[in-house]
Amino acid sequence: MKAAVVVFPGSNCDRDCRVAIERSTGADVTMVWHQDTALPVGLDLIVLPGGFSYGDYLRCGAMAALSPVMTEVKAAAARGVAVAGICNGFQILCEVGLLPGALLRNAALKYVCKPVDLDIVNAQTRFTAAFGDRREATMTVGNGEGNFFADDETLDRLEGEGQVVFRYQQNPNGSSRAIAGIINPAGNVLGLMPHPDRAFEPALGSADGALLFQSVMASA
């Protein structure tokens, strides 16, 4: 099993992701620099990590979306490789058009950093299958611009097509319909604001994030 974590200038959860994936799944993890024009062969998972890529200049994720490596990430996503964007990675996936919507400034204008309880709205995805019968999970959020926004038509479509994967039980940032994570129609690109990489073993307060990585690898 092989995974890659993309490192942008300003990423700060890249190493967390590597450790989380390695310890949760035993997968071989390669760090890929954003200027790279090729990804390792035979990847089962690509992670765009959290952080502040390019200092959040212009808009969160806007500059990273134009990085050379994103051409390869888009091509891999089109081939069906699992791609997970966590926090800043979610912002990048929206900016690059792999997921709909955008992430706005938090409604309370505050950076929110705390564990959040989530409803697993769709447990039938490549990213949630290992949760089994569980319909709740706990992970940590850490964001200032995590307020998911999309127009009503898009939100209705996301809900109708089972593309809402995680929902906050108590909305920490004003996200439309309390959405915490969404998936693309093909089911291989996930964006979420909570950090599975900060919740992969009990010492971190929750090990639920490990199940997300294990789900992907089990489907590989």
Binding site: N106, A107, N147, F149, A150
Partner: protein, 80 residues
């Protein structure tokens, strides 16, 4: 030529910064202020002397990078 691009959140999108600034202005006594929106101004030089052509190019830049069409609208000014 000089290009000035104004980028604002679309009318339907809650502008929390604008709301906070409005609350602050009200707190300072300017109760007559309403609908505050906070945006971004980007200005740059652009080579050429055809302002219509320059506008088309700058609009393409807005669609591609300077604004996010999901949440933002923009207004372009071109000056000699």
């Amino acid at each position: 030529m000089k290009a000035v691009v104004h980028v604002f959140l679309k009318p339907g999108v809650l502008d929390v910064q604008g709301k906070a600034v409005q609350t602050a202005l009200h707190g300072l006594g300017w109760d007559d202020v309403d609908h505050v929106r906070v945006g971004r101004v980007i200005e740059f030089d652009i080579v050429g002397d055809d302002s219509a052509a320059a506008r088309t190019r700058v609009e393409a830049m807005c669609d591609r990078l300077l604004a996010n069409p999901v949440i933002e609208g923009y207004r372009v000014e071109i000056a000699a």
